[in-house]
């Protein structure tokens, strides 16, 4: 494998959890709900994946992760949508709760001082034929099953948002809740479901970190990916396909950071750490910047 292939493969791999979480957040935000709790849902998903995989292998891990993400976002949905509490505060608190709960459950299950869990992982599943395509084949088609699931979910999200009545109502609820209501959309219910879908996808993102990448769990291991996913949603202009591209862009910038550190010596590493964010700002200042948020985003 040459360097370019390594880089592209790493980009897609790094992008996968970001993409999954960002897709879920796209759905929630299109419905008008900004959910800062997805960082917590992702973390819950990671722990769910670890517990599930310990108990019954990677597939159970994926299922448990999805369920855990769902549970955490149910808490968010009840407080922020059902009771219409402020979404930002609620999301912050839900993430805090998830950090605490996952830590407590992890310590309870594996011991107070932590262990280096070693879990069965999903492994790489090359698509016959396609993975042989020069340059891009390896990057796109020699990944874990969860990466392929993410591709599929991009299409699903697009179809849901733009090709179904329910998606139309969802977007209306995000643009102008009162008007949507006057047009017969059950705003609260739609938002609730959107948040839950977002939570399930964030859980899946946690699963991909644990089961497709590191094969272990650690406290706070999501390390802010939920917030980066939110940035990706904005960068992608709240459109699933562009969100996918934005996630790939971010994945690429992060992968580049590690390659630079490994190959370029003598440059302060902090400069590389800034790289993904500075690149994104540059892209935003260029043609991609003029995005428009859903009109009623964040209004509970």
């Amino acid at each position: 494998m040459d360097l370019l292939e390594t880089f592209l493969t790493a980009a897609v791999r790094v992008a996968t959890p970001l993409l999954l979480a960002a897709l879920g957040e796209t759905i929630a935000e299109r419905a008008g709900v900004i959910n800062l709790g997805i960082e917590g849902a992702m973390l819950a998903g990671a722990l769910g994946a670890a517990l599930g995989a310990t108990a019954g292998g990677p597939l159970l891990g994926v299922a448990a992760a999805t369920a855990a993400g769902l549970c955490i976002s149910l808490l968010f949905a009840v407080v922020a949508v059902r009771f219409r509490a402020n979404q930002i505060i609620t999301g912050t608190a839900v993430t805090l709760a998830a950090v605490g709960l996952t830590g407590a459950i992890y310590r309870d299950a594996y011991g107070a001082e932590g262990v280096g869990l070693s879990l069965p992982t999903l492994g790489i599943l090359p698509v016959p034929g396609l993975s042989r395509i020069p340059v891009l084949g390896e990057a796109l088609f020699a990944q874990s099953a969860l990466t392929y699931a993410a591709y599929l979910l991009v299409a699903c999200c697009w179809w849901l948002l733009y090709r179904t009545s329910w998606g139309l109502g969802l977007r209306a609820a995000g643009e102008a809740a009162e008007h949507a209501r006057a047009s017969g959309v059950a705003v609260a219910r739609v938002r609730m479901i959107a948040v839950l879908i977002g939570g399930a996808l964030a859980g899946l993102a946690g699963a991909s970190l644990v089961l497709a990448q590191v094969g272990t769990f650690a406290e706070k291991m999501t390390a802010g990916r939920g917030f980066i996913a939110i940035a990706i949603v904005v960068l992608g202009g709240w459109h699933p396909v562009r969100v996918a591209l934005a996630a790939l862009f971010f994945g690429a910038a992060m992968a580049l950071q590690f390659l630079f550190q490994s190959f370029l010596l003598g440059v302060p590493y902090q400069l590389f750490l800034m790289l993904p964010y500075l690149l994104t700002l540059l892209v935003l200042a260029g043609a991609w910047g003029r995005t428009r948020a859903p009109g009623d985003l964040g209004r509970s």
């Binding site: 733009y162 090709r163 009545s165 139309l168 977007r171 006057a182 047009s183 959309v185």
Partner: protein, 489 residues
């Protein structure tokens, strides 16, 4: 009398200290057009919102087809076959026309079918509209068409129309009312709220008058005359129209030369070429079919848009009354006092050196409530709590308060009842008499001829001054122009 399709009995609704409805009874028969009249703030919209599930009543009963129902939300209303055109636009601005209609009708949002379906609907209704235009970029008149199409798309048996014609020019209003009559023939029952008595008398089968939350009378339309209706609405005989004031014309206050202004993104021609002057003491009418550049022209004069070419000279305080009151004319969350303070800026007596004297502003806002006959519990109430017409009065009051040298008004009587409309016309004339240059656009040419001293016609982006005393026919023909039809549709 045919069986009642929708019956509202003893409906009560209270907003804080305001009793919007005090036990109102209303019934809509199968296949009738039932006009609902009343002054601004009488409770018409509230009654209809209750029938549509947007507002829950404090008391009373609702019957549909003789069976008692609870209408918890608009979805429930839709299921019962009720459609509504709201007094304010309720579209999703970033959706296309087709998407907005699909949303309201529960149609799937895309696929080849939708566009054709929408086109067919628009043609059948006689309200052509581009399915791919963005709702937010439509002019007010076209947005109103969209509202109507949304209500029609659901195949409602009961149509609640809250001032559907208030922003439509007379020709379109006629088309629309013809449509309502055709729908009646197909068995659709309609409630028509309007402030235009002629409309009600022309198309309605029955007329109900609401005053201060109570039904004053209901009866067959044939037995009514405008005077009796007006008396019922007001509680007293209507005052005679004030004599028309004619002021001496002074120096040039607006001087525009070789203007070109790009049209709004959603269509409309913009201004290609306009040169004109308005002098102090004149009321100049801007006659134009929707989308012919009047919006752009008024905004450029108000300093809100920059012309692509040409010069504008405007002297002295400018007041601009925008067409869409909810998004630009006021801030609904703010109180009347706060809206007043915002509209007056630094020049106001309560804003000495940038420090605010709220009590002084509040007192002034209270005075304006009296002077402009704004029905509100007090100046501290949020503007959004007022009825539509009272919101409009408040906006006009604030605009006048600046003692403008230049008064630009875009359909300032939108949603006003008869008396208030007459008052506004009178105020425009009096402002001119006190030395202002007034430039006003109204969709109704007759009204415009009534209020204006002379007329400027905008057609296809060109400005054509009319000779003094030009007749209705000449102006109407010029508006439609040889050079191009309206961009609308």
């Amino acid at each position: 009398m045919p069986a009642a399709l929708l019956t509202l009995t003893a409906i009560r609704k209270r907003y804080g200290s305001t009793e919007a409805l005090k036990g109102a009874d209303f019934s809509l028969a199968r296949g009738e057009i039932h006009a609902l009249l009343g002054e601004n703030g009488a409770g018409k919209s509230t009654l209809m919102k209750i029938a549509f599930g947007l507002v829950q009543p404090d008391g009373g009963r609702i019957l549909v087809d003789g069976a008692e129902v609870i209408i918890r939300n608009p979805l429930a209303a839709r299921r019962l076959g009720i459609g509504m055109v709201h007094q304010h636009f309720t579209d999703i601005p970033v959706f296309t026309v087709a998407e907005n209609i699909a949303l309201a009708a529960g149609w799937p949002p895309s696929g080849r079918g939708l566009r054709d379906r929408v086109r067919r609907l628009a043609e059948e209704a006689g309200l052509p509209l581009d399915p791919d235009a963005l709702a937010g970029e439509l002019s007010a008149g076209l947005r109103q068409r969209l509202e109507v199409l949304k209500a029609l798309a659901g195949h409602a048996r009961i149509l609640l129309l809250d001032e559907p014609t208030s922003v439509l020019p007379p020709s379109e209003a006629d088309t629309f009312l013809g449509l309502v009559q055709r729908l009646r023939d197909r068995g659709v029952a309609t409630v028509l709220i309007t402030h235009k008595l002629q409309e009600a008398l022309a198309v309605a089968d029955r007329i109900t008058v609401l005053r201060a939350g109570e039904v004053i009378q209901t009866g067959a339309a044939q037995s009514e005359r405008p005077e009796t209706l007006a008396t019922a609405m007001l509680g007293t005989a209507p005052a005679r129209p004030a004599p028309r004031i004619r002021a001496a014309v002074g120096e040039v206050v607006i001087n525009a030369r070789d203007l070109a202004i790009p049209g709004a993104a959603g269509g409309g021609t913009g201004i290609r070429n306009a040169s004109f002057q308005v002098r102090a003491g004149e009321v100049v009418g801007l006659a134009a079919v929707e989308g012919n550049g009047q919006r752009e022209l008024l905004r450029a004069l108000a300093g809100l848009a920059r012309p692509a070419r040409g010069t504008i000279q405007v002297t002295g305080p400018v007041s601009f009354i925008p067409e869409d009151r909810t998004s630009e004319g006021q801030i609904g969350e703010l109180s009347l006092t706060e809206n007043l303070v915002l509209s007056q800026g630094r020049a106001a007596p309560w804003a000495q050196h940038g420090w605010l004297d709220w009590p002084a502003a509040g007192r002034r806002a209270g005075e304006l409530l009296e002077r402009f006959d704004i029905r509100a519990p007090g100046p501290d109430v949020a503007a959004e709590r007022l009825s539509g017409g009272n919101q409009q009065r408040q906006i006009i009051a604030n605009a006048m308060e600046r003692r403008p040298r230049v008064l630009l008004a875009e359909n300032p009587v939108r949603g006003l009842d008869l008396r208030a409309t007459a008052e506004v016309y009178d105020r425009l004339r009096r402002a001119a008499a006190e030395g202002a240059a007034v430039l006003v656009h109204l969709p109704d040419l007759d009204d415009l001829l009534d209020v204006a001293d002379r007329i400027l016609v905008l057609a296809a982006g060109e400005l054509i001054p009319m000779p003094e005393g030009a007749g209705r026919d000449l102006i109407g023909r010029t508006m439609l122009g040889t050079r191009g039809q309206a961009a609308a549709g």
